[in-house]
């Protein structure tokens, strides 16, 4: 960096001093505060206030339990006290009902509820109903068939063993993965931001079809190597996204 560049940088830092208004600061900090207070379930959260409140609720729960032993031994655990261990309570309640209820014919007639599925944490599943599946465009299909046949036809487990691509071609081609395509720009924006948060390079390309309809494609990439693109595609597929590989 030349002496003039240094001077330019110093000059810019001197000139650029604006800060957001206090109203704007308050609005952002309020958003953060509300989101934390709304979402904290952990009984051992970071704030002493949360810890105190949690202990208070637990003590109250124990007192209620001790003062109403007859009610709790049969049917209703108080439903207005919501605790993190409610799923365990459900199971215990069901066990109690089964063991105490008289059997008239000596057979077991109760149907146990199916076990709740573990939360997989794959939150992209909730996007699936909003994803619009595009009709195949004949020209694009033909283009992809000629350019990407080795990639598209490979089974997922063996796709890393693609035929070698000439070195010159590898350097010049850019591989993108399409993670979704939407008519609604906001949905595309939301998916792109989620992918960005996961560390992907995601962008939106607005594509106008022949009939005038505009689609917002969420693309991940570019990848210089086939192997990287395929690995990324498999990761995105595992998140529940319906991906396509694009070549530009």
């Amino acid at each position: 960096m030349s002496e003039h560049d240094d001077r330019l940088s110093r000059l810019y830092r001197q000139s650029s001093q604006e800060t957001p208004s206090s109203q704007l600061d308050r609005a952002v900090l309020d958003m953060a505060r509300k989101s934390v207070h709304r979402k904290v379930y952990s009984p051992f959260g970071a704030s002493w206030l949360v810890r105190g409140a949690t202990v208070g609720v637990m003590v109250l729960g124990v007192l209620l339990f001790l003062t109403m032993p007859e009610q709790t031994s049969y049917y209703d655990v108080p439903r207005d006290v919501e605790r993190p261990s409610s799923r365990v309570d459900e199971g215990l309640k069901e066990e109690r009902i089964e063991s105490d209820e008289p059997r008239l014919d000596g057979t077991t007639t109760k149907h146990k509820q199916p076990a709740m599925q573990e939360d997989t944490g794959l939150e992209f599943h909730d996007l699936l109903p909003e994803l619009e599946v595009e009709a195949e465009i004949p020209e694009e299909k033909a283009r992809r068939r000629t350019q990407q046949a080795p990639l598209a036809n490979e089974p997922a487990g063996t796709s890393l063993a693609t035929p070698p691509v000439p070195a010159a071609e590898k350097k010049t081609l850019s591989r993108y993965i399409q993670a979704g395509s939407f008519r609604n720009e906001q949905q595309a924006t939301d998916l792109r931001d989620r992918l960005t948060a996961l560390g992907y390079r995601a962008s939106i390309a607005a594509v106008t079809r022949d009939d005038g309809a505009v689609y917002y494609r969420v693309q991940v990439g570019p990848y210089a190597q086939d192997a990287d693109a395929i690995a990324a595609r498999q990761q995105l597929d595992s998140l529940g996204l319906e991906t396509r590989q694009l070549l530009e």
């Binding site: 330019l8 650029s16 604006e18 800060t19 957001p20 996961l198 607005a206």
Partner: protein
């Protein structure tokens, strides 16, 4: 950020205090005050919304400014601006205006005039060069981080920053750069 995602509000307050000024000016130099405030608030809202998806592979700063870059591109697209999607001449070399070979003797200039002129010149840079300049000077990013935030390669980011500096240096009054000993 991970601490905030786990519910530590103070961690967010520290992050916000660190980045509020730079992010605000990043938008302010590229839009107007009303739009800058809207985009600024929107980026933080998205960050809060997606905090649990944050992965520490990328630095927080890179993530924040990637969101900011994306929001700006969205805004320009809504406004019908196409410059960001046009082929980038800067990679192969912009036609820079050549400096006056005989600018004459230096004049006395007021510092405030220099500062004002520089801000106007920054706002007048081509979109992608201006973003590279702001990511360097407002966010304090390295070239690698600028490349990641702008979703481009390191060489392209380097070119954009270089052309931005060249343009500013050639356009600002010579006295502004020479008045400081």
């Amino acid at each position: 950020m991970l601490r905030y995602a786990a519910g530590d509000l103070e961690a967010f307050q520290r992050l916000y205090a660190l980045h509020r000024g730079g992010l605000y000016r990043y938008f302010l130099r590229q839009t107007n005050r009303t739009v800058a405030e809207e985009l600024f608030q929107d980026v933080w809202a998205r960050l809060i919304q997606h905090r649990k998806r944050y992965r520490p592979e990328a630095s927080f700063k890179t993530w924040l400014y990637t969101l900011a870059h994306n929001r700006l591109v969205d805004y320009w697209r809504r406004e019908g601006r196409r410059t960001v999607n046009e082929p980038e001449r800067g990679v192969d070399g912009y036609e820079l205006e050549s400096a006056d070979p005989d600018p004459g003797p230096p004049r006395r200039v007021d510092l405030r005039d220099c500062l004002e002129q520089l801000l106007q010149l920054v706002s007048g840079l081509p979109d992608l060069q201006r973003q590279a300049f702001l990511l360097r000077h407002e966010a304090g990013m390295t070239l690698a981080q600028i490349a990641e935030a702008m979703n481009t390669g390191a060489e392209t980011a380097k070119s954009r920053l270089r052309y931005a500096m060249d343009r500013l240096r050639s356009a600002i009054a010579r006295e502004c750069l020479e008045s400081e000993s």
